[in-house]
């Protein structure tokens, strides 16, 4: 059922074709909020990747081992949020311990991963797409995180260069950022339909 090929296709699909940021418009607030510098963006990407991998795996397990067998589907959101919040707390402690500079520069965005819709979205998508085996769920979760990292790092790279660009005064700051985000999304729309 889950051959290497399926996993690879699923992984590429979630990173490039079904990228949560570019095609589902999820996780936009850290995408725009922490994409000022590449190192911060990469750190944020790593944090989100960790949380989404942990959350995706755990929620798949909880969903398939407890919720669905006992008909407790109504608790899905509550349990998922519980898992995500716990994972974020872990990440926060870890980052605070080992990357204090990064911790300071994240500010409010680190605890805000808790309410990052990309993560809850991914946990729910796994259920929505009917992923019924663990390896595929894990690979998709990692892929979603890496897709987010890819998106936020691309954005950060562009924005670092935008700092030096001669932007018309009316477009400086937020407008040019949003236009850039739109163009990036358009570019990624080109992949639409390749896989899945």
């Amino acid at each position: 059922m889950h051959t290497f090929e399926t996993l690879l296709l699923g992984f590429l699909g979630i990173v490039i074709v079904n990228n949560l940021v570019f095609t589902k418009f999820l996780g936009i607030c850290p995408y725009l909020g922490v994409s000022g510098r590449i190192d911060m963006a990469f750190g944020m990407g790593c944090a989100v990747t960790f949380v989404v991998t942990l959350a995706g795996t755990l929620t798949w397990l909880i969903d398939h081992l407890v919720l669905m067998p006992y008909g407790l589907d109504v608790l899905r959101y509550v349990c998922f949020i519980l898992v995500i919040a716990g994972a974020v707390q872990l990440v926060e402690m870890y980052v605070r311990k080992f990357f204090p500079v990064l911790y300071d520069s994240f500010g409010i965005f680190l605890p805000l991963i808790t309410t990052n819709c990309a993560i809850l979205g991914m946990c729910l998508f796994i259920n929505l797409w009917g992923i019924d085996n663990l390896p595929e769920a894990v690979v998709l979760s990692i892929g979603a995180g890496l897709g987010f990292t890819l998106a936020i790092c691309m954005m950060a790279g562009i924005r670092e260069n935008l700092e030096l660009a001669d932007v018309p005064p009316v477009l400086r700051g937020a407008p040019i950022t949003l236009i850039t985000a739109g163009l990036l999304t358009l570019a990624f729309m080109g992949f639409a339909g390749m896989i899945r």
Partner: protein, 292 residues
């Protein structure tokens, strides 16, 4: 699938959530011990004495970041306006410092006292219900300096200390912490933070820079720049047709009381804790003054 109904579902749900909660709590507890970061105990002590309202009046994101900053740089003591002098003293005690006597606590005063009946309107405003958008209209009300009464300042206030009473922003000084959030909310700059050297103290409740005739034509209670108050006490000064008071030097005296009573538009009013309640509604002071 095991069929479960009614109470069973509720019981299972509760059990599951409790179980998950316990498991996560255990993991996080272990992690918090393992990943404990040694922080400066002074920061925690300072944070403990702060009011923890996270109002941002100190210029930092919240009480936690202010505690950190003040521990590193003691010259930042005294930025906490909700806590006031007492909090500054406590911080100083934590840092083992002496502080000099602080100045009077700053509180907002609204430089307007025209309620709806006092104002002149040329037409009904039907735009977005907000002072900022209303202020963009040149003729939303005749007085370009008066309170618009849509309560942008009320929205900024985290302490329920501001209310719109009949089209006029009124500060509830019992609840006000002096964080200054409302000041930024007023697009007409009617709210000013002034040191309250006395409770209550006299304030000039007008911002109109129009000449006396124009002000009279559109507002029943505006300052007409007559200068009567300035002739009574040097605390008052009239500039651009508008009386202003030197709040830092304010001392209640016979001269200030005479100025208050002689003011033809009764625009010099007491404000603060214990201010006469009738000042809140401008229609009544005349009647109250006649009675007393």
């Amino acid at each position: 699938m095991i069929a479960a109904t009614g109470m069973q579902v509720i019981g299972l749900s509760a059990l599951l959530l409790a179980g998950l909660g316990v498991v996560f709590a255990a993991v996080l507890l272990a992690a918090s011990i393992k990943l404990k970061v040694a922080t400066d105990p002074k920061v925690e002590q300072i944070h403990a004495v702060l009011p923890k309202v996270d109002c941002g009046a100190c210029g930092f994101a919240g009480c936690a970041s202010y505690a950190k900053a003040v521990a590193a740089d003691a010259s930042l003591i005294g930025r906490c306006s909700p806590g006031g002098a007492a909090t500054s003293a406590k911080i100083a005690a934590v840092l083992n410092l002496q502080i000099s006597e602080g100045s009077a606590p700053k509180r907002p005063i609204v430089h307007c006292r025209a309620v709806r009946e006092d104002k002149t309107f040329y037409a009904a405003y039907r735009g977005i219900e907000g002072c900022t958008s209303a202020n963009a209209q040149p003729n939303v009300q005749a007085c370009a300096f008066g309170c618009l009464g849509f309560g942008d300042c009320v929205q900024r206030c985290r302490f329920d200390a501001l209310h719109i009473v009949n089209g006029l922003a009124v500060v509830d000084y019992d609840k006000c912490t002096g964080c200054g959030a409302c000041v930024a909310g007023c697009p007409r700059g009617l709210i000013e933070m002034v040191p309250f050297t006395h409770e209550p103290m006299l304030t000039v409740a007008c911002s109109s820079r129009e000449n006396g005739k124009t002000t009279r034509s559109m507002c029943a209670v505006g300052c007409i720049g007559c200068g009567l108050c300035a002739r009574q006490s040097d605390l008052f000064a009239v500039k651009d047709n508008l009386a202003r008071m030197d709040y830092a030097r304010y001392q209640p005296s016979e001269a200030t009381e005479t100025a208050r009573q002689k003011c033809p538009t009764k625009v010099i009013v007491f404000r603060g804790k214990g201010a006469p309640a009738d000042e809140k509604v401008s229609k009544t002071p005349a009647a109250a003054g006649a009675a007393s």
